[in-house]
């Protein structure tokens, strides 16, 4: 397995991929391992913060009628605790693992979009700091992590608390979306040759599922947050029942996002177990295909169960029964996992390391969280359970059990790979047992409190209610658990310096990341591995894994700059050579400026907002400018023959990236239109009061469709070697787009006389939906103009990147067009046929 290449090659690869030291390197690095580790550390810090918050709350609840905290402090604490744990710890820590591991496991040199990866991380940091900056004026979010309106509206929560929440999560949403798109494209494009879909580690399946879920679920949250911010800042009426809005709209949007999100923060963690458990059981996972399918199935089913968070909101019984059933069905894929892990242990030869213990603990906690989940799916009983400590117990069993325990298992498992040193096993056992006992003493009695009628989110309770003893026990458990976490920190800090040196593969694990040194070199693999089995490092001892065909030490070498292979999505045949970007400060600048923008919005300060947006714009320009620079060769000679550089169409990552953007944007508009349909269906007044005038909108629709046709025609002409026609068509498209926007502005102007965004929910929705579409047209125009100026000439001369840009912008423009047709049909035509 040792590299057989000359040191010279390693040195040159090192020079090519290495991040320069110092602050500059710190801010510019795009290395997935660096970013992954930062994710892990940052998320862990948030875990500790969330833990401190929990500790304070448990102190307040240790006995009846305590006044350690004021009600306001308590409310802020439980809100920020939830936000921290759910958004700033649970998902990012898994992103950390996935970021670190994916290219290593998949046999690639980096993620598909390394700079986006950096952006994703810096945005996460920015969002986290932004939310926590609210501590300085004592106005941390205080409406619970699911932030129900109308309590979260300005009328009842007049401080800046909720603005921090709304904008912080929007920012984090961008981070997560960007990261998800990156994972998806990475999976489809940058695996090692031969790493076909049936050979993927389960954590990859988990993260892939989570990423796809994110693309479609996060827009729902974004829509909700935008509505919330507009309501609070500008007095729109999305959630205002007095003007046609509905508080339940928030709940629907939030839980359509929120429930899938639960799977986002558990599926990769379950992947950790599925990948690490076999190592310690000394055998492959039982039922790989079942587990992979169950992972995907959970992701899909996760979209169909959001209503079980809303069983007590007065929904008709038929709907309740349906969603109750759906919520139970989701236990089936979970059961697949549990029995697969059980069987793996049963038929394996367990090595009882700390990591293994954490995974065994996970299985038990997961089971408890799972069965209590089934209990909550039983609608009539849920009317009793919901909003009590039973739910608190349930959700913590799920989240601590399925996220924290696998994460700790992951730490013990991959710490050697990341640092080159082993964590201490003796301390590890203490660590495990305090956490395991702590978590059960902490959360199991909460079931009991729930059954005894204790509602959640109360800052104190009376002694006559019989909850005191149990609460004291819970608090003791909380501090025991905290001690466990503290033991881990001690272990990690000690082991960083004094841990046993790990070597490449201390656990004798089967997957690719263990084939390289610990820690791995910046370029991951000196030569790109060619994979032939699911367990490349165990091929020689597994009867059904072929017989050692994976090429690990002397595969293809890509060393003219930062390069890796792009592959065909299903069979993993290399089809392009990807030029990977250099380090860049701009992701950092963009993230910081967007954070500044949010600060400006919450202040509120127009100057800060404007400054933030300006820097953001400049960062984007600076980020993308070099990509139009000269490229020497368009094809590269490799072991797999002459391969094009970056490729075009669906061969290129950019195409996939655009596809992801369009997918998530389509979901965004779908949620906007669904909100419109929901509110209009439940409006007591005829909606809209006056049907929109078609005299401007109909011609405008024709104009936009025409622009799409023209652009498509131009693209054809360009492909047929008529670049001037292409440029002409693009110019016409731009002009038509401008005409569209002008007419739209004129229509706004005339409609504002009768309906304003603050008139009622209809006005709010009308202007928000058409406004967002208009912004997309504008974005499309900017892209078109950019491509027209910089790309089309190159395209005309056969340059891939130019063509790629044109293909992407065409795709985007068609998308904007299709969105408009949907908007036009629902907002303009439908009221007339009513």
């Amino acid at each position: 397995m040792a590299a057989t290449l000359e040191p010279a090659v390693n040195t040159s690869l090192q020079a090519t991929w290495e991040t320069p030291p110092g602050i500059r390197g710190f801010l510019t690095s795009v290395d997935h391992k660096t970013i992954g580790k930062r994710y892990l550390v940052t998320a862990f810090v948030f875990l500790l913060l969330g833990g401190l918050e929990a500790a304070a709350m448990r102190a307040q609840l240790a006995a009846a009628n305590l006044h350690l905290l004021t009600p306001e402090q308590y409310n802020q604490l439980f809100t920020v605790h939830g936000v921290t744990m759910i958004f700033l710890y649970a998902a990012p820590i898994l992103s950390g693992f996935s970021n670190y591991l994916w290219p290593l496991m998949l046999g690639s040199r980096d993620m598909a979009f390394p700079r986006l990866n950096a952006l994703s991380y810096w945005l996460f940091v920015g969002a986290g700091l932004f939310i926590y900056s609210s501590v300085f004026n004592g106005q941390m979010p205080n409406a619970g992590w699911f932030d129900y309106v109308p309590y979260a509206e300005r009328a009842f929560d007049p401080g800046r608390n909720i603005d921090f929440y709304a904008l912080g999560l929007l920012l984090l949403g961008i981070s997560t979306t960007v990261g998800s798109a990156n994972f998806i494209v990475t999976l489809f494009k940058t695996r090692a040759p031969g790493m076909s879909l049936n050979r993927l580690p389960i954590i990859v399946w988990g993260t892939l599922t989570a990423s796809i879920v994110n693309l479609f679920a996060l827009p729902s949250l974004s829509v909700a947050l935008i509505f919330l911010y507009l309501d609070r800042r500008y007095g729109t009426h999305f959630f205002d029942p007095t003007s046609g809005g509905k508080p339940l709209l928030w709940q629907h949007l939030f839980w359509i996002f929120g429930h899938p999100w639960v799977y986002v923060i558990v599926l990769p963690a379950m992947g950790i177990v599925s990948d690490a458990l076999p190592t310690f059981c000394r055998r492959p996972l039982v039922g790989y295909t079942f587990v992979a399918l169950a992972t995907m199935a959970t992701g899909v089913l996760g979209f169909g169960v959001w209503l079980h968070h809303m069983f007590a909101t007065g929904i008709p019984p038929l709907g309740l029964a349906f969603f109750g059933g759906a919520s139970m069905i989701i236990a089936i894929p979970s059961a697949v996992g549990v029995f697969a892990w059980l069987a793996t242990i049963w038929y394996g030869r367990p090595v009882r390391t700390t990591a293994f213990l954490f995974m065994v603990g996970f299985i038990l906690l997961f089971t408890i969280g799972g069965v209590s989940g089934v209990m909550t799916a039983a609608v009539p009983f849920d009317w009793q359970l919901t909003d009590t400590y039973f739910i608190v117990a349930h959700l913590h069993y799920v989240l601590v059990g399925i996220n924290v325990f696998p994460v700790f298992a992951g730490f013990y498992y991959w710490f050697p790979k990341m640092t080159g040193r082993m964590l201490d096993e003796r301390l590890g056992r203490w660590n495990f047992w305090t956490m395991f006992v702590g978590v059960n003493v902490l959360f199991f009695p909460m079931h009991w409190l729930g059954l005894m009628g204790m509602p959640r989110r109360i800052y104190t309770y009376d002694s006559g209610l019989g909850w005191s003893t149990t609460n004291l026990v819970v608090t003791i458990g909380a501090y025991l658990f905290a001690i466990g976490v503290l033991l881990f920190i001690i272990n990690a800090i000690r082991s960083l310096k004094h841990g046993v040196l790990a070597g490449n593969n201390p656990w004798d694990a089967p997957t690719l990341e263990w084939s390289v040194s610990s820690p791995p070199p910046p370029y991951n693999f000196a030569t790109i591995p060619v994979v032939a089995s699911r367990h490349p490092l165990w091929e020689d001892r597994l009867p059904d894994e072929g017989g050692g065909h994976s090429v690990l030490g002397n595969g293809p070498l890509l060393d003219s700059g930062r390069e890796t292979f792009g592959i065909t999505p299903l069979d993993a045949e290399p089809d392009v050579v990807m030029k990977m970007p250099s380090d860049s400060i701009w992701p950092f600048m963009l993230a910081i400026s967007l954070t500044l923008t949010c600060l400006g919005l919450v202040w509120p300060s127009t100057a800060w907002t404007a400054a933030g947006l300006l820097i953001a714009t400049l960062s984007v320009i600076a980020w993308f400018s070099p990509r139009f620079g000269a490229r020497q060769n368009e094809t590269v000679e490799t072991l797999f023959g002459m391969l094009p550089v970056d490729g075009e169409g669906y061969h290129s990552v950019a195409w996939w990236g655009m596809a992801c953007v369009i997918a998530t944007e389509a979901a965004f508009f779908a949620y906007l239109l669904a909100s419109y349909a929901y509110l209009s269906a439940s409006s007591i007044n005829p909606w809209p009061g006056a049907s929109p005038d078609l005299r401007l909108a109909l011609p405008n629709t024709i104009i936009l469709i025409a622009s799409s046709i023209v652009l498509q025609y131009g693209r054809r002409q360009g492909e047929n070697g008529r670049p001037s026609r292409l440029r002409g068509a693009m110019l016409v498209t731009v002009l038509l787009g401008i005409v569209f926007l002008v007419i739209q502005a004129a229509e706004f102007h005339s409609r504002l006389a009768t309906v304003r965004p603050t008139t009622d929910a209809y006005g709010s929705l009308f202007y928000t939906i058409t406004g967002f579409h208009g912004a997309h047209v504008l974005a499309g125009l900017v892209m078109l103009v950019t491509v027209l100026v910089r790309g089309s000439r190159r395209a005309a001369h056969g340059g891939n990147s130019g063509w790629l840009a044109i293909a992407n912008v065409t795709m985007y423009w068609h998308f904007v067009d299709v969105v408009w047709i949907c908007v036009f049909a629902s907002l303009y035509v439908l009221p007339h046929v009513r």
């Binding site: 003007s243 007044n685 009622d760």
Partner: protein, 647 residues
């Protein structure tokens, strides 16, 4: 000398109209222009449409409906040149038989003189004339003026300043108006805004008595015109938005002492419901409904103020007085039918005991008061002549009710309304459109028509026994409404609604219509850009007068709806015009111009006039007296001029 009342002259005039009708109508339609009005304006187009719908009324001089005004000694009809009570007679017809000014010559009307009373609030009353003296009372501070008509320019004869408490200014919901004053027994009797009723010697302006009837500090004001029946002065309170307990009070005409008081809500003893009380419909029959149809105790603040017009049938010895909206507006705070608000009582004026009642808008959710005037007429229905009262209710329906029993004989919408899909044929309750219910507080309910001020507010309609038609000022206004939870805090509004108003379909705020109460149909209508918030006068010359909120004073052919004459006055017109015969024997028409009151709801409209407080008196060009200077030199010269003009 009373030429217009001379039967032969009347016949002559009728023939003249008959002969020239078609020609006059056509030429007027096509050629008549009046100052400041564009040819394509609403009024003109309506003139055309009126012409097309007047086939029923074409026979000049005929009563097209068979409806007649009750006549007889008890009906309070003054000498034909006088006007001594607001409605001119107990039946509230606002019809004057004077016919010097008629459809043929009205276009030559011009201002004879004017009088500015110096108060810039809503002028909702009608000047009174008796003994060659004109009486008018200003809005708060409720100053009374007597003008000497025998002298040129009608100088002030006396002034009476009652100095009411200024606290009343802040307790009056809709401007500090005074809707009228009455002459009886040599007294000028009217209400002060601060809850007092005063009687002033009509000859000298000396205060004869002053009685505190209501407590203004609790938000109760008085704006209505008292009605004097026999020896009783009947007065009611205002404050439907202030959580008052509505009531009708009878004072002794001689002394001003309170004789009886009947509330609009509460137990039967307070409402003055006894064994004689026989409402026609079963849902109004029962004990103490004024109490039990309310949440416990809520009747005490349930409004039902009696701030509108009272009419009197001397034959049946019944008075008819409507009750105001239900308090608070927010209907969710008062489940139940909320009797007897938004309805009308027939009471015995001697005892106050109720004989029957009818509630137009039970559980009123829209502020549709029931206080509008009940015009008493005799009307053929299904071949039988019935004694009825006609009310053009705020809720948009015109009710023709048997005034002896309270049976609703006919009901149909007389303007644009969308809150009720109709009236139940059995119970006569409105069938409410569910989308227009306002009960869920906090919800904006959009586009309820009419708005709170109704298809017609207090501005009184008129009835002409000559044409058999009613002349009704109509509003075309709708509202977006949001109920709000409201606490009763004594002396503050008990209201509970946020509201914006907008114009109804068609874009014209007002309309002036002629109504056939026998068929329940509109005969013709004149759309107006602004509200028609003035009362109406109709004369023996078949001319109907009305004014608009933007200040146009118009004369209309009462049969065709053709606008014959218009004059822009100094402010908007929300008072009711009247006509009298001057000492010179000529017919004069007077109207107060002073915009205010509920008409202010359109104050944001471009063209809305400034406040004012001017009385304008018009006469035919030919009979306008000579200039004041000359007139003062020769008092007899005006008589001479008048003789010359005589036809």
């Amino acid at each position: 000398m009373q030429p217009v009342d001379n039967p032969s002259i009347r016949i002559a005039l009728r023939s003249l109209i008959s002969l020239t009708f078609a020609g006059v109508a056509v030429t007027a339609c096509t050629t008549h222009e009046y100052p400041g009005r564009r040819a394509n304006d609403a009024g003109d187009s309506s003139g055309v449409s009126a012409a097309t719908t007047t086939s029923t009324s074409t026979p000049a001089g005929e009563n097209v409906t068979g409806a007649t005004a009750p006549t007889g000694p008890g009906w309070g009809i003054p000498a034909d040149g006088d006007w001594t009570t607001q409605g001119r007679d107990y039946a509230n017809t606002r019809y004057s038989p004077l016919a010097e000014i008629d459809t043929s010559n009205v276009s030559s009307l011009r201002i004879a003189w004017s009088f500015n009373d110096g108060v810039l609030h809503g002028h909702e009353g009608t000047p009174l004339v008796a003994n060659n003296t004109m009486y008018l009372v200003t809005p708060f501070p409720d100053i009374a003026y007597a003008l000497d008509l025998t002298k040129p320019g009608a100088p002030i004869k006396w002034t009476y300043r009652p100095n009411p408490s200024p606290i009343a200014i802040g307790k009056a919901c809709c401007d500090v108006v005074n809707r009228g004053w009455q002459l009886a027994d040599g007294k000028l009797i009217y209400n002060l805004l601060d809850g007092h009723t005063v009687a002033v010697d009509a000859a000298t302006g000396k205060e004869l008595w002053r009685t505190q009837v209501y407590d203004v500090t609790q938000g109760v004001t008085m704006t209505m015109a008292p009605v004097i029946v026999k020896d009783k002065v009947l007065v009611g309170n205002s404050g439907g938005e202030m959580g008052v307990l509505g009531s009708l009070t009878a004072l002794d005409l001689k002394t001003g002492k309170i004789d009886w008081q009947a509330t609009s809500t509460g137990p039967d003893s307070l409402v003055k419901i006894g064994p004689d009380f026989k409402p026609f419909y079963s849902w109004m029959q029962g004990k103490n409904l004024g109490e039990t149809t309310w949440p416990a105790g809520a009747w005490k603040n349930g409004a039902g103020a009696v701030w509108g017009w009272i009419t009197y049938d001397p034959d049946l010895n019944l008075i008819y007085a409507g009750t105001s909206n239900t308090g608070p507006w927010n209907a969710q705070q008062r489940p139940g039918l909320n009797l007897w608000t938004s309805g009308v009582f027939a009471r015995d004026p001697d005892t106050g005991m109720a004989k029957w009642a009818f509630v137009f808008t039970p559980h009123n959710e829209w502020d549709y008061d029931g206080v509008n005037e009940n015009i008493l007429v005799n009307l053929p229905i299904n071949g039988k002549q019935r004694k009825v009262m006609v009310q053009f209710n705020r809720n948009g329906f015109a009710y023709t009710i048997d005034r002896a029993t309270g049976e609703v004989l006919m009901v149909s919408p007389f303007g644009h309304e969308n809150w009720a899909s109709g009236i139940d044929s059995v119970t006569k309750m409105p069938i409410v459109v569910p989308e227009k219910k306002t009960e869920v507080p906090g919800h904006w309910v959009r586009d309820i028509c009419p708005a709170d001020i109704g298809v017609k507010d207090e501005q009184p309609a008129a009835f002409s026994p000559r044409t058999g038609l009613f002349y009704v000022p109509v509003q075309n206004i709708c509202m977006d409404y949001k109920g709000r939870e409201v606490s009763y805090i004594a002396g503050t509004p008990y209201w509970g609604a946020d509201m914006t108003r907008h114009v109804g379909p068609g874009g014209n705020y007002g309309e002036f219509i002629a109504w056939n109460a026998s068929t329940g149909k509109k005969v013709w209508g004149i759309p107006e850009k602004f509200l028609v918030y003035s009362g109406v006068l109709v004369t023996g010359g078949d001319v109907a007068f009305y004014g608009t909120v933007d200040g146009w004073f118009r004369a209309v052919n009462a049969r065709t709806g053709k606008i014959l004459w218009s004059q822009k006055l100094g402010s908007g017109i929300i008072g009711a015009p009247m006509t009298f015969r001057g000492p010179d024997g000529h017919q004069y028409v007077s109207v107060l111009a002073g915009v205010g009151g509920a008409a202010m709801v359109t104050k944001a409209m471009p063209g809305f006039p400034a406040r004012g407080g001017t009385l304008y008196t018009f006469a035919l060009d030919s009979s306008v007296p000579a200039q004041g200077v000359q007139g003062s030199q020769s008092g007899a010269s005006s008589n001479g001029a008048q003789a010359k003009e005589k036809r």
